[in-house]
């Protein structure tokens, strides 16, 4: 190898990453950053029943922050997110634990994991509406309970309620918890657990001191997915509650449907702020990149 070639090689070495990452960065710039900046601009524009006008007004924000609705929606969104997060983490962790430590053969592990993931490939809308004939007053579940004599009146809270919304979320999104947690759990070296057991640790100690910490990256990743999906949803909360509950995004969708873009943009900005803060916090606590690479 000649010296010149080596130098050009080193220069290439320095430039190459930028070339490689450029297309991805360009797409994100064009379709993420620019549109969101535009939403930011839009939130300062004026509007009437007919259209919106470039301008600079704080009215949309004043209205947003003055309205008790804003905070109610925010609180509801956070409640939904927290409850669904807790449920999916518990279910996801338990299922992954079962798959990792109780299923011995790789083949069966993969098979069972595949069984968990198949519904993911179906339309979410279809999976959502399939709950309606199931949970209704005349639905399979109520009629079953009545048939075996547990209840004599159908349970009404099952459908068109927050309960139905949460059931549907858990049904749709638990997978996003199972896969990452399983993925990090599988990498745990069994000899560590053996060693701990030899040293006299009980199952609980092993769970809390070894398995949970070592599954951390999966839990964090799953959390990011689930929180994102629940916070961004606008149709499950509408359909499954029979339009009797709302969250930030579904209320925003109502405004958009009415062509009131600037106030929708203002609530969008508030949501963006919250999401960015949350993610910055998560990334502070856990270095997702390093965790992934390990």
């Amino acid at each position: 190898m000649s010296g010149a070639r080596r130098i050009s090689g080193m220069r290439l070495e320095r430039v190459l990453p930028y070339v490689q990452v450029m297309p991805l960065a360009a797409v994100l710039l064009l379709f993420l950053v620019v549109p969101l900046v535009f939403v930011g601009l839009l939130s300062f524009w004026e509007f009437d029943d007919i259209q919106y006008y470039p301008s600079f007004t704080l009215a949309n924000y004043q209205e947003l922050f003055a309205s008790p609705l804003t905070w109610k929606l925010m609180a509801d969104t956070i409640t939904f997110t927290a409850v669904v997060w807790l449920l999916t983490v518990l279910i996801g962790f338990t299922c992954s634990y079962f798959l990792t430590f109780h299923i011995r053969t790789l083949r069966v592990q993969i098979l069972l994991l595949l069984i968990c993931t198949i519904p993911f490939w179906t339309s979410n809308v279809i999976r959502m509406i399939s709950w309606i004939p199931f949970l209704g007053k005349q639905g399979v579940f109520n009629q079953g309970l009545i048939a075996v004599g547990v209840i004599d009146q159908p349970l009404e809270f099952l459908l068109y309620s927050d309960f139905a919304v949460i059931v549907c979320y858990v049904n749709l999104f638990t997978l996003f918890m199972i896969v990452p947690i399983f993925n990090s759990m599988v990498k745990i070296d069994l000899s560590i657990i053996e060693a701990a057991r030899d040293a006299g640790a009980n199952s609980w100690n092993i769970l809390t001191n070894i398995i949970i910490p070592l599954s951390r990256s999966g839990i964090v990743l799953g959390t990011i997915f689930v929180v994102t999906l629940v916070m961004g949803d606008f149709f499950v909360v509408k359909i499954m509650s029979g339009s009797q509950s709302a969250n930030v995004v579904s209320a925003m969708k109502n405004e958009i449907d009415q062509l009131y873009y600037p106030p929708a943009a203002a609530s969008a900005m508030l949501l963006i702020l919250i999401v960015v803060l949350m993610i910055t916090l998560v990334l502070r606590i856990v270095d997702v990149r390093r965790e992934l690479v390990q």
Binding site: L69, Q244, N254, L259
Partner: protein, 433 residues
């Protein structure tokens, strides 16, 4: 309805249309695309494609197919709900040729200038259009309720190039009326077991947990207002244009009911309302006419109940988008004329809607069908919808009776209020409460 005895025979076969069109094009030499030679014109015409977009209860493939056959050019249809259609007209007006709009939506969107007016003289059957649209009155001269957006108030445009809606007749129409109906509450008579005759029953604690209303704010609040007024809580100045105080009061009452679990759901789609009713989740709710028949076709008793306070009326019309010109515009006008000429009127009558020109619709219906759908007479034979589903058995009468009786009893019209924005916000509060 005796004036409908005089039948107007209009044959919109392709030939007669071409004859008319070539005569018209000779007159309007200004449109460059029309050379005046019928053959050339016809050759170009067959390449025209029109896209007609609107809600699925009005924009129907079978109708477009028949129109394409009769007119000799292709009409494509695409369904979009009113809110989606408004968004599309506002943001991508060039992707629609003919917009199928509710009158209240026209009130909302017209001033953006994305649609163009149609000269009255271009519409052959304008004089035959049911006068609640063209004159704001019934055939006998009685005035129609002006609560909400009475179609007549939105019917006329100031003229070409103007974005204004004109109050009172001009030579230009905004949209050409097509279908309309009188809406009320649907009930399950078998599960209620007693007569229902007032909107107030929607709020009756007897039906707690078994009622539903429409979740679309603009229409939902009006159903709520009908019930609240019927119960005597509020006397509205105009239910179709509430003051902020009236909106606040209405929403407060609704919130209170909601907190007590009075409503099973607020439906936002046609099929939700069908399923709610058919499954017995609710026994009384706002409904649309075809939804009631959809429940009935499953063999479940369901009545579109006439109420003493009257109906909530609505109407749809077809508007030409501003970008249409030349040959394509001529074709679109021909399509509008075809629409009023009867085939479509007969078709939609069989799903319970009324035609803007009832007398041409009559030519495309059997005497028995006309008697059942328009005159409220008992059917002699089984009545079926356009797809062959049983709508009414021999001997049965249409819910609410005759056309004149139903449309004659409109209490208020679907609308968009001046305080729409405030109302939507309040409605969001109600939903989130």
């Amino acid at each position: 309805m005796k004036e409908s005895e005089s039948t107007v025979k209009i044959d919109y076969s392709r030939r007669s249309f071409l004859k008319k069109a070539s005569a018209a094009s000779a007159g309007i030499a200004a449109t460059g695309a029309v050379s005046g030679f019928p053959m050339v014109w016809a050759n170009k015409l067959k390449d025209v494609e029109l896209l007609h977009v609107g809600p699925s209860y009005s924009v129907i493939q079978e109708i477009a197919d028949q129109a394409s056959k009769d007119l000799g050019f292709k009409i494509q249809v695409q369904t979009a709900w009113t809110d989606a259609l408004l968004t599309r007209i506002a943001n991508q007006p060039d992707t629609v040729d003919v917009a199928d709009l509710e009158f209240w939506a026209t009130k909302r969107i017209w001033q953006r200038g994305n649609l163009q007016p149609v000269a009255i003289r271009e519409i052959d059957l304008w004089d035959k259009i049911y006068p609640i649209f063209s004159k704001g009155e019934y055939p006998n001269g009685a005035k129609v309720s002006t609560q909400g957006a009475l179609p007549y108030e939105v019917q006329y445009a100031s003229g070409p190039g103007s974005k204004e809606i004109h109050s009172g007749p001009t030579d230009y129409a905004t949209i050409i009326p097509t279908v309309y109906n009188a809406d009320t509450l649907g009930i399950r008579p078998d599960l209620i077991g007693r007569p229902i005759e007032s909107w107030a029953e929607l709020l009756n604690p007897e039906f707690s947990g078994k009622t539903a209303i429409l979740g679309i704010p603009a229409i939902g609040i009006m159903d709520a207002a009908m019930a609240v007024e019927a119960r005597g809580d509020i006397q509205y100045g105009d239910k179709g244009n509430m003051t902020r105080a009236e909106i606040d009061q209405t929403i407060e009452i609704m919130k209170d009911l909601k907190s007590r679990g009075h409503f099973r759901a607020f439906w936002s789609s046609f099929d939700e309302s069908v399923n709610l009713m058919a499954s017995g989740e609710v026994v009384i709710q706002s409904m649309w006419s075809p939804a009631v028949t959809a429940v009935k076709t499953r063999g479940i008793p369901c009545v579109y109940q006439e109420m003493k306070e009257g109906y909530r009326g609505w109407g749809n019309g077809m508007g030409l988008m501003a970008h249409l010109d030349g040959l394509k515009r001529d074709a679109a006008v021909a399509y509008l004329n075809w629409y009023l000429s009867g085939w479509q009127g007969g078709f939609i009558a069989r799903q319970g809607y009324y035609s803007a020109v009832p007398e041409t619709a009559r030519d495309h219906m059997s005497e028995d069908e006309w008697g059942y759908w328009y005159e409220g007479r008992p059917a002699n034979d089984n009545i079926v919808d356009p797809y062959g589903n049983l709508m009414g058995k021999a001997g049965e009468k249409r819910d609410g009776g005759a056309f004149a009786k139903r449309m004659g009893n409109i209490e208020c019209w679907n609308t968009v209020m001046d305080e729409n924005r405030y109302m939507v916000k309040k409605w969001n509060e109600f939903t989130a409460s």
